[in-house]
């Protein structure tokens, strides 16, 4: 029996009252797979996140989280398998220290104190928050509060992470921390579904592009091909990120989009050329 993927949408339709948001949407994400959910505002991206988190019930079709049908699970139970981080996540913090707030999730799931401590320490470490663990969240700048909210989801150690614009308000250094934390979790088998407009972050972190248009899947393909192609990004209101634009402009072989790959290709091609 092939194991259930961390997430599978099966012909999912949903409408807010009379306003249709999703129409017959189907896709699935394998363990360790890193998917970007792209599309114009109003294409239905946030609706997908709310359905996967169990905050909404599909009108028809089914959202499978592993072998659980979200129609039969309350969000607080789904939290065992899905770590969701929404926009303005920093507004959900309430403890007097970052560590205490990150501890809230694992403790609510009822895992033993030892396990709560390990998960909390790991989540704080992954995002470089250990130095701030004893600080009050509201004494930190908004960017670090946002990171603390993400740490709260990582501490659940779910099989699936669903993030809505995790990098808004973060500078390049903090984006790199989020990127490495997600890559590490993905390598350990966690599936990622990330809504983002930040294509530099997407290029560095994600591998598959799911493009939503008016509630259905416009395309589903490797992200690399999409990010270097300005003509296909333009209708989505997106522009190629700096590094991918350079790769396209210099016509580097294979059109890499990740900084490390572009740097390597740049060096290789430059060595093969006569000195300018």
């Amino acid at each position: 029996m092939i194991p259930h993927p961390p997430l599978r949408l099966d012909g999912v339709s949903f409408a807010y009252g009379t306003v249709p948001a999703l129409a017959g949407l189907s896709f699935s994400i394998a363990p360790g797979e890193r998917a970007a959910l792209l599309g114009r505002n109003g294409a239905g991206k946030s609706t997908v996140v709310r359905l996967v988190a169990g905050l909404e019930r599909p009108d028809d079709g089914t959202v499978w989280v592993g072998d659980w049908d979200t129609r039969e699970c309350a969000a607080e139970r789904l939290a065992r398998r899905v770590g969701s981080v929404f926009q303005h996540a920093d507004q959900q913090l309430f403890a007097s220290t970052v560590r205490e707030d990150v501890r809230f999730g694992p403790r609510a799931l009822g895992v033993g104190e030892e396990e709560v401590k390990r998960r909390t320490d790991d989540a704080l470490d992954d995002l470089g928050l250990t130095p701030h663990a004893a600080h009050h969240p509201y004494d930190l700048p908004p960017a670090l509060r946002k990171l603390a909210a993400l740490a709260g989801a990582l501490a659940l150690e779910p099989a699936l992470l669903v993030l809505d614009e995790p990098t808004i308000g973060l500078d390049r250094a903090l984006c790199a921390r989020v990127s490495s934390a997600l890559l590490e979790r993905s390598a350990a088998g966690v599936a990622l579904l990330v809504i983002t407009h930040d294509l530099t972050f997407a290029a560095e972190t994600l591998q598959r592009g799911l493009v939503l248009d008016r509630g259905s899947l416009a395309c589903d393909e490797p992200l690399g091909g999409l990010l270097g192609d300005a003509t296909r990004l333009e209708p989505l209101g997106l522009v190629p990120p700096g590094v991918a634009a350079l790769s396209a402009a210099l016509d580097l072989p294979g059109r890499p989009v990740r900084a490390a790959d572009v740097a390597r290709e740049l060096a290789r091609v430059a060595r093969g050329r006569p000195a300018p």
């Binding site: 988190a53 607080e76 939290a79 929404f86 303005h88 959900q92 809230f104 609510a108």
Partner: protein, 203 residues
């Protein structure tokens, strides 16, 4: 709803006078009033539960008048016009700000409260369970709303300062609703009617 174009102060005057008159005028003895009585049946049931019949009719009619006139007020009165009318009538911009800013902040914070409930449920918080569990849940849901709102007070103050809402300004009213003399006269008339009725009833 009719009356939408009336000056906000006129709306308030009508909505104030009607129930006041309902209190002051002697309670009607049945007849045409019964139609109104039946429309609010469940509410009247409670009254009947608590009081004898004549008191029920007396209180019920008064309250029905009050609720009907105020519900009409809420439908007809646009807060923006009330704020502009207040500024035009010389109320200080700060007082008008207090009312208007609260009116616009309530839906924003209510939406944030619902988002926080969703977000905390997504990290395992169950708002169900025994009283003690739900009180603990209440803390994990109310505290983030209050702390995040309080944290933004400074930014709101910075915004007001940089956009000129500082004490002692002569603010230009943007589009004050027209306040024709006939409406002003009507307002005074309503007030006199109430006073007269009060005078006749109790003296």
């Amino acid at each position: 709803m009719t009356g939408g174009r009336l000056h906000p102060f006129t709306l308030l005057a009508i909505a104030g006078a009607l129930p006041a008159l309902a209190w002051i005028l002697p309670a009607p003895r049945g007849g045409a009033a019964t139609a109104a009585v039946l429309t609010a049946a469940p509410f009247w049931l409670f009254l009947l539960l608590l009081h004898d019949v004549p008191t029920t009719i007396a209180i019920g009619l008064r309250i029905t008048t009050m609720v009907a006139s105020f519900v009409w007020l809420v439908a007809a009165l646009q807060p923006a016009r009330l704020v502009e009318a207040m500024v035009a009538a010389g109320w200080s911009a700060s007082v008008a700000y207090l009312l208007a800013a609260t009116l616009s902040a309530v839906p924003v914070l209510k939406a944030r409260a619902r988002r926080i409930v969703d977000a905390q449920r997504c990290r395992g918080l169950s708002p169900r369970g025994g009283i003690a569990a739900r009180l603990r849940a209440l803390r994990a849901l109310a505290l983030p709303l209050v702390l995040s709102a309080l944290h933004e007070v400074d930014e709101r103050a910075l915004a007001l300062e940089t956009r000129g809402l500082v004490p002692g300004i002569r603010r230009t009213p943007l589009a004050p609703p027209p306040d024709p003399a006939v409406e002003q006269a009507a307002r005074w008339a309503l007030l006199l009617a109430c006073l007269f009725a009060l005078f006749r009833r109790f003296l």
